[in-house]
Amino acid sequence: MPTISLPSVLTPLASGEHTLSASGSTVGQAIDDISRRFPALSPRLRDENGEPYPFVTIYLNDEDIRFIGGFNAPVQPTDELSVVPAVAGG
């Protein structure tokens, strides 16, 4: 089962967990799965049409999913997804 790693800013929306296991064979299905389980997380991961935001980058292992098929990119059980939202603090 692939895992999804969240930044600390999003963990309160996932019951405090910073790493979640997700079911699915594509990135989009894995995102769907955790969005169903943690509804408050859903609008922070994708827009209302289910599309990726331009200010939230999702990595599949070390690759930006935009360059490998986006939400349709296939995932393996050992893969790690990382959610990396834009932050502007300085």
Binding site: S5, S8, V9, E63, S82, A86, V87, A88, G89, G90
Partner: protein, 392 residues
């Protein structure tokens, strides 16, 4: 040593006292005398003398960077001191550039400090950046980050990037000749209100220390040509759980800045990147009815039946709170709607009004008709109504 990718300037021998001052650099083969001379010749512009700019400026001055430019329009505030280590308690109220200049001069009197006491804008950015070899982004808002990025791409100057929020940090080097830029990573900024600022969400004081020193390290590597800079790579740090990783960044051929080059000047870039004004946010998310703190105070004094809902986090309640408020953190709101009366008027508040605006939208969507957002949150309540309520 390796060769710097930065432009060559007039050389000059190190003075005798500089051999001693920089002796720990000189005995590093990756730096050596040539690297130290390169540092002395270098001109680095730091945008922001705050959390990130503080440690970066301190270490770049100590390292012997010849000229440090500092851009900051702000004055030292007591809330800065938890992380902005360029400034001290006695500097409260002083201009940050004055405070920074004194501190940097003490660390290394051989460093020339150029101050720009203005807010970086599309109108002044090119003139300010003129003659600097690289720019270190220590800004605290998206609009200026996109401005810095586009400026670097257009001027052909590396952007030594760092950004922080709460416990998370990012660092990279953008806008080198063959590398990606910030817009390759994030094409557009988020709409205003979707991502809280540090003043609302908080930041661990030591985090800008971690990330700012990474930026200083990358600047020194670019100047001296030592090692492998974070070009095409993004360093991610989670200080809370100590997770650290480096992911690959690709240059996006459709990037409007460095790919298609449709951003041709900074006024265009500013229009593209400007954080949307609040009217646009209301258009997207729906306008939120507000009540002024003084009005709420008057209505409570007159005995009006109003429920106050506090949607901040539990650790914030311990800092300051309003008497009689029902406390439900924003993330738990939907699961606790049954605790709210649909027959009463409800005034929702948070620290500054952002989270409570989201709560008002959610409550109205759930069928609550008479819901108001407390304008300016508990901060404005403290300013306008009750100064005994602490601000934070």
């Amino acid at each position: 040593m390796a060769t710097s990718t930065l432009p060559e300037r007039a050389t000059g021998d190190l003075a005798p006292d500089e051999y001693l001052r920089y002796s720990r650099h000189l005995i590093l083969p990756e730096i050596g005398v040539d690297g130290q001379r390169a540092l002395r010749r270098a001109r680095v512009l730091l945008v922001g003398a705050g959390g990130l700019g503080s440690p970066a400026a301190l270490y770049l001055a100590a390292a012997g960077v010849g000229t440090l430019g500092l851009v900051d329009f702000d004055h030292v505030d007591v809330t800065n001191l938890q992380r902005q280590v360029l400034h001290g308690t006695r500097d409260i109220g002083r201009h940050k550039l004055d405070s920074a200049r004194d501190r940097l001069r003490d660390i290394n009197p051989g460093v020339h400090v150029e101050g720009f006491p203005v807010r970086l804008s599309a109108d002044n950015a090119r003139e300010i950046a003129n003659g600097f070899d690289l720019i270190l982004d220590g800004t605290d808002n998206f609009a200026t980050r996109y401005l810095v990025n586009d400026l670097c791409v257009l001027q052909g100057v590396p952007n030594v990037y760092g950004s922080i929020f709460r416990f998370d940090g990012q660092a990279s080097v953008f806008a080198t000749r063959d590398g990606p830029c910030y817009r390759c990573l994030y094409r557009e900024p988020p709409p205003a209100g979707l991502v809280p600022a540090c003043a609302e969400g908080g930041v661990l004081g030591v985090l800008p220390g971690l990330v700012g020193t990474i930026q200083a390290t990358e600047a020194i590597k670019l100047i001296t040509g030592a090692g492998t800079p974070l070009i095409g790579r993004l360093l991610l740090v989670d200080a809370l759980h100590w997770r650290q990783r480096v992911v690959r960044l690709r240059r996006d051929p459709f990037c409007p800045a460095c790919g298609t080059r449709e951003i041709r000047d900074l006024s265009d870039a500013e229009q593209l990147c400007a954080v949307k004004p609040i009217d646009d946010v209301d258009a997207v998310f729906g306008a939120v009815p507000e009540i002024e703190p003084a009005t709420l105070h008057a209505r409570l004094r007159s005995g009006d039946a109003l429920d106050i809902l506090d949607v901040r986090e539990p650790h914030e309640w311990a800092i300051a709170s309003l008497d009689g408020a029902l406390r439900i953190p924003l993330a738990a709101l939907e699961s606790r709607l049954d605790e709210l009366s649909r027959d009463h008027e409800i005034v929702v508040h948070c620290k500054g009004g952002g989270r409570s605006a989201q709560a008002v939208r959610r409550l109205r969507a759930a069928g609550f008709k008479r819901v108001w957002n407390l304008a300016g949150g508990i901060k404005r309540w403290s300013e306008d109504v009750d100064p005994s309520v602490p601000t934070y």
